[in-house]
């Protein structure tokens, strides 16, 4: 393709009223919102404390550190307009999680985050991990990051994962924000993030106005939200044999959308039932639903980078 030619890019034409907005990049305060929600969930509800409240509180601190790092992140190299055009032409993510050559500045982000964490009250194992990661060399950090971004969790330490992932999330959110929404087009695979090609952490069924009832998938890495039609498997895009599972006697705000064709599920958060919900936080806070879905033999169709599920992987 001749990149000199001025072709109108997605987003340059104003969407007519009634057209479904396809993409929404993470807001500048995405990690602040996440931290607040994690903290709120960690306190539990009127029935008592949350069963993993301590862990959610730790992650709330981590998300606060992410916000701080994002606010002070220096500019990092971005794909050239030619690279961007090439990616769009071939339906590839412009900032592919595995393909994009990471700038070392993400390790600076990690350092900022670890410093923030070191100053916070932590459990002994968490303190030890923070101290260890502070001393870990660049080559090893890059190796952890590569395995993590490849989704190769068997080789990723469950302790390291949330911290390293936190830094990578900040780095990707920043790059996506620098490029802006118009830089990204649709991918061939509707279930992968149009920005970085990652799997979603969860889906969000929106509420209010133009967006009422629309489902957006939320990227596990860069927190981008992209539209996907309801009642469709976010993994294999099948539209039949889709079932929804919820915890009995719950208000139905979180449902696992499962597909019998590819045997996966992904949680959907119905904002109509609870408008405070946030993808990463509420996904973790409903771990019981994952365990029960696991017992039915279903496999999760997306990662939560704040949670390594342990050694019993499929």
């Amino acid at each position: 393709m001749n990149t000199e030619t001025r072709v109108l890019e997605p987003g340059q034409i104003e969407a007519p009223a009634g057209q479904i907005p396809f993409l929404r990049l993470a807001r500048p305060d995405v990690f602040k919102q996440r931290a607040e929600r994690l903290l709120q969930l960690s306190l539990g509800d009127s029935q008592g404390g949350h069963s993993i409240g301590g862990y959610l509180a730790l992650l709330a601190t981590l998300a606060q550190a992410q916000q701080q790092a994002l606010d002070h992140f220096p500019a990092a190299p971005l794909p050239t307009p030619e690279q961007q055009a090439l990616c769009r032409e071939h339906g590839m993510p412009v900032l592919g999680a595995q393909a994009w050559p990471r700038d070392p500045s993400w390790r600076g982000v990690l350092k900022t985050i670890l410093q923030h964490m070191a100053a916070a009250p932590l459990t002994a194992p968490a303190s030890a991990v923070v101290a260890r990661l502070m001393q870990t060399g660049g080559t090893e950090l890059e190796s952890i990051a590569s395995k993590l971004l490849a989704g190769d969790l068997s080789d990723v330490d469950a302790q390291d994962m949330p911290f390293v992932a936190a830094a990578l999330q900040v780095y990707w959110v920043r790059m996506a924000a620098e490029l802006g929404e118009h830089a990204f087009g649709k991918l061939e695979q509707g279930g992968l993030c149009p920005v970085c090609g990652s799997h979603p952490v969860a889906g969000i069924v929106r509420v209010g106005g133009m967006e009422q009832g629309l489902r957006y998938l939320c990227c596990s890495l860069c927190a981008t939200e992209w539209h996907m039609v309801r009642i469709k498997c976010s993994n294999c895009e099948s539209t039949h044999k889709i079932n929804y599972y919820t915890l009995e006697n719950s208000n139905g705000a979180v449902k696992a959308e499962s597909c019998n064709d590819c045997n996966t599920y992904l949680k959907l958060l119905y904002l109509e039932k609870d408008s405070q919900m946030e993808a990463v936080a509420d996904d973790l806070a409903t771990l019981a639903l994952d365990v029960l879905m696991g017992e039915t033999g279903k496999v999760r169709g997306g990662l939560n980078l704040f949670f390594h599920p342990g050694s019993a992987q499929v």
């Binding site: 194992p125 968490a126 190769d152 009832g213 029960l292 496999v299 990662l303 949670f307």
Partner: protein
Amino acid sequence: MQVTRRQFFKICASGLGSSSLAMLGFAPGEALAETRNFKLARTTETRNTCPYCSVGCGILIYGLGDKAKNVHTKVIHIEGDPDHPVNRGTLCPKGVGLLDFVQSPNRLKHPEYRAPGSKEWKRISWDEAFTRISKLMKEDRDKNFIDKNKDGVTVNRWVSTGFLAASASSNESGYITHKVVRSLGMLSFDNQARV
């Protein structure tokens, strides 16, 4: 694009002991105990088309119940399909009332017949209904079929009977309706059930 299956994993109770949760100093015991107190409830969401009029609005039907366990699935909610290009999640007052329509005790569930002059509806079998309809159609067609007009041109018309099909029909059932009705020579048919 390559999608690796490695991204997919099961979250198992047995794995939680080596998960990030446990490895960062939080005992998973309470979370596991809690899990045993919960059960899964199966619900369904089904895409369909409003049966009322020819606008053909998309709807989502929410159901409750586990088909596998031989429990009757109950429709609990119906709303406009937000992704549907025609109505984008909206519904007219009749569409909004669809749940009552589905659950109405007066809903027609089998063929009924009211004889001319009678006030009584009588339940009949599908076989009786089909036989009666086809018999009357044939009778009327034999009597009123026009094969040639006054100039002697072949027209093969049957104008004394009309046909009303369903507004929520798909393209395919529209095609079949057309084939059946037109091949009998019938000219009047419509898919407008609103009026």
